[in-house]
Symmetry: D2
């Protein structure tokens, strides 16, 4: 595994736990953790159970005894590592978004295409059982012809103007703000559930707080009142509409400024025969509306997605016992390992990741075009 931030903890948990609950066709070994800082990498490896450490990712790619490379670094380094790993014949799991630029994403998809190893991008929310079951329902025809998609991903950690200027708020490192970090999940989930691709967008990006306190020694300590400030160069709100290739129309919002909303990834899909409604903050449930029910019994059914018949659930606990955030990473390992073992292309592929990048890129181009706005005073 290359990288050891927040995502490193989640991926490690996935690798460690998957073989304990699922009968995997191959047993993962947590061989090598790579990070730039030797001491911190060593500490992370000890905490998360990796056997060895390195400070250069090329060491991982060069080793013959390593079959799988898991990339959890910031997006700017994804392309270089992934392409090298694929060229070295490794299987690659890469955190989302696939890359910070469309060019890089295209290079990655090209590298994956025809590579000996399998490549998958880490849109883990597909692996929440309720999201996976939403797709099953929709693809089975349970809601008929798909018409509307309403997808929002709402967080609020930037509401406070004193929240510091981390790398996530700088365009060079992060590529974009709420759009790439949160919007990417909403777009992937919407395309996953509907089975339709977005072909056109119209949107706007906004930054409410333009300067924030710098972090680190150069800027003094937080809370001293003497901090220097630096410019926020990414969006904290992205709004866009979309057209899908199957005829559906979508409304999307990704924001770090929705006061009071902590992690509300909500996707509702309405069709000619019914609707499904997913909310990550109620991740063990799925709302399902059957328009064919008798008139007196119409309503959204709050399905607790914890029956053994639901996706992934037979491996876990009895009905009614909840899963949490990191279970998606365990399911991701299961799906990735099984696809490799069976010689199948895992999903979402790098091509799927590229498609999401194209949507995000389209939103950026649309947002740069001020002529999309019409004044109410004509």
């Amino acid at each position: 595994m290359i990288g050891h931030g927040f995502m490193g903890a989640a991926h490690s948990q996935g690798w460690r736990v998957a073989p304990r609950f699922f009968d995997l066709s191959a047993q993962p070994e947590m061989t090598l953790l790579v990070g730039r800082d030797a001491a911190r990498t060593e500490a992370a490896a000890r905490k998360w159970g990796w056997e060895q450490t390195e400070t250069d990712w090329r060491a991982a790619v060069a080793r013959d005894d390593i079959d799988v490379v898991d990339i959890v670094t910031p997006g700017a380094s994804h392309a270089e590592i992934a392409v090298a790993a694929l060229e070295a014949g490794k299987h690659v799991l890469c955190e989302k978004p696939l890359a910070n630029t469309l060019d890089e994403a295209e290079a990655m998809a090209a590298a994956a295409d025809g590579a000996a190893g399998k490549a998958m991008v880490g849109f883990t929310y597909r692996r929440v059982p309720a999201a996976s079951f939403a797709r099953d329902l929709v693809q089975s025809g349970a809601i008929g012809e798909i018409r509307q998609v309403r997808a929002v991903y709402l967080q609020d950690w930037l509401v406070d103007p004193e929240a510091p200027l981390t790398w996530r708020l700088q365009k060079d490192a992060a590529g974009s703000g709420a759009l790439g970090d949160l919007g990417a999940h909403a777009v992937d989930l919407a395309q996953f559930i509907t089975g339709q691709k977005i072909t056109a967008v119209s949107g706007t990006l906004n930054t409410f707080v333009h300067e924030r306190p710098l972090l680190g020694e150069a800027s003094g300590l937080a809370g001293t009142g003497t901090e220097e400030r630096g410019p926020v160069t990414v969006d904290d709100l992205a709004l866009f509409h979309s057209r899908f290739d199957g005829g559906a129309i979508g409304s999307f919002e990704a924001t770090r400024m929705s006061t009071g909303r902590k992690n509300a990834l909500r996707v509702e899909v309405a069709g000619s025969l019914g609707a499904v409604s997913f909310d990550l903050e109620k991740m063990n449930s799925l709302g399902f509306y059957d328009a064919g029910a008798p008139a007196t019994r119409l309503g959204f059914t709050d399905i607790m997605v914890t029956e053994p018949e639901h996706p992934y659930m037979s491996a876990w606990w009895p009905t009614g016992h909840m899963l949490g955030y990191e279970h998606g990473f365990t399911h991701q390992v299961r799906d990735f390992v099984e696809a490799i073992a069976e010689g199948r292309q895992p999903e979402p592929s790098f091509a799927d990741g590229l498609q999401v990048q194209k949507v995000l890129s389209g939103v950026e181009r649309s947002a740069a075009n001020e002529s999309t706005w019409t004044k109410t005073e004509s």
Copy 2:
């Protein structure tokens, strides 16, 4: 009262009930009901308690013993009646939307400006206590500087392609579809709660079902399988983004195609210090988030807006006893009558109604401009 459809029943209930629960400064008398069809108007008058009937609205405007004209006809006739009534010195309450065209709305606002009588447009959802209290909270500064507005009005009565082609689906009579019928409420409520006006929009209109069964003798009876069909000439989905004059950014959706959603007018406003969240389907509650609460106690409070200290509530039942849809019409009568009695301009004024029309008109112009869309395959 001119007109006697669904809105006529609601307004009649408002006129009848208001003096029973509120101490009004003037006592309404339900003198005259006007409708085109004498027999049906007579039946409605008997049912709803109007003393007399007429078939020509000019009769109402001409009578000296009538002080107030309440207009509940379809939008196409609003301007002519309202302007005549105002010129005759009457006070005028006019259902929303103010008019079907911007020109008519401007004529109405001009007539109201300087008229002897008072003029009010019927955005009754302002009078839901929870919506009114949301405005109070926001205007008191409880959520700080306003940043985001998310407003949707979701219905699903057009999901069935066999739903008939009523006047509401014809542009000549209705002006627009979901946009004017539902979007107007969302826009008014958003502007009311924030105290900000929308200055620019970017949006799209969509019609999913393009032909529907004709009603009436020409088309045969419903369900015979031999119906003629006619074209739907209005939108069944309107999506738009907005900029407010105070710096807020808004996302709006109005739809008659959101399968499973019956009357979901939801407005959430997020600010630098908190947020409010209103849902008409839970109309006796308001969500309120105070970002200044201790870290361990953060969360949306589900305020039951039934305390005597809440707007309008001291007139009604003890705490915890619910109000319903038509109470808004009773509150509207209260507010209208008191404004007249005190010589104040009631709100929302015709100028407020005109402002909403300008927003809707802007959305229509924006939607007609295909260049607002960006393709994801560049």
Copy 3:
């Protein structure tokens, strides 16, 4: 109508509104309002639209032009008035609980039995469409054999120890506290929905705050800090278990001390094939669970009980438009008038009211028996 407290306002609204929304077989005339204090009665009559007033209920009973007597006085006077009215050949609608004592209730039921007039007791929550529909579902067999009932009625207006000592807290006037005021509703609704009668109970009554400030001149004004206090002589919490004659087991709670709960009358009935779940604070919805659904689609459906096919709803607004508390009183008038017009016995009858009283009386006897308790340290 005899009496003009809070219930008088609700009943008046029912009488006034019912003929405006329902096609009644007979038209109610609001002829005479009776109250002890002439001035206050006159004011109430003017406000609520009663034509005449009297200070002695015997005047109402004696008049030939009065066909219906509606009793909304405190429970202590129900029996005398109702029996006299029935003996005079009137139809009688009597607020719940039927009486303060079992003897009185039995006398009333006896008087109703064989009287020329019809007699009904006012358990209006039966007339909330969702509650009425719950009964329909259960009686249709949709949940199979009934096993469990969980019914609570939670309020919190006595949490504050400075809430004053009104007549409702004095056994002489009120009969009992939470038990008779709230528990009676829970018992009636449980028996109504299940169609089963409670045959045995085991319970406890509790009073948390034993003294409260006196009201009125003798005690000084509220908030002066010098109030006299008097003893609370009724329960503020009633808990009991029940056995139903059809084999179901029930759990009941009635409380004025459930901090934060304002008017939470909740009844859940579980059967061999499904369950229904009602909550008065979400009165336009009903939860329904169909145990026969496919394993992946199991869950409570949140039915919005606003379709024209639902009880009472065709008279009101389009789908998704909410009703409130007082609509139950309008429905009560409809049902009462129609039963009279058709010569049917309206429900709930005085016999039904007596049955509820027997349950409450059983709880009081059980609660007086300390030997029902078992110590955990044996």
Copy 4:
């Protein structure tokens, strides 16, 4: 660890994961798994990561290199194993309920008292962050003087009369039914949050389905229509009221027959200043009502218990990322290991477990006393 059923999987996950997220003062080693059947024990050990296996628990107790014994067998064997382990100087973690009989529970508490090792009983729901935070709030005085407790634990896996007759439905093996399995959790959680002990109870036990299909070779295969049936000898519903030593009154329900409810452990505690409301099916949230809020802002706040300031949460994910069922077992390991390392008595102690058993025993004695019931027809 002794035993390897469903609880074995959960405990194994706790032992494996705790050192990865918490900085433990001692590192657990998963040395030995004990089960009666050698092959199945070996398979479980391999799956869950235990190094060695044995078929006799005495082997574990006898080994010097084992410091901690974790008992996850059915209740009937708890006492023998735990007492032996404590006498051998081991630290003991024992699943709930402590024992099937009061005598055994008392022997275990006596053994723990004065033993060199520490002993803890596994009421893991205390370790759900929202439950733990509920206790913190209540013990901090946030809801004032505690008055009412309403605790239910609702499941529905016995609704189907064809659900088989497992050991959990046989008194010899299981001790009791819903009472001990579910009621024990409700009692422990109620006592934990309130800090009060139950001193008296009044209750009833019920069995709705008296015979069920036998499992295993003697009875033929499930679904053949020729199954033999055997008697269910435990309750499937337990209802009881309680008195707490601090003056609170409680209402409890434990059921496996609440159709549609899968794992609904709900505890609401109402006090003079506020209330807390916990629901295991919404385990990442806690409802909190502050009666001291301004009148217009009263309501339950839906606190998402995922801030780093909440119990256990700083070890996990960012705000808004959910935990699941098995996290309680990880927290349990953390608390147990830290108590051992610091030489403290962990909680809940065997004495706490014994106290819960006394409550359950009291309910059984109360339920056996038919004279607690009062007939409604006197």
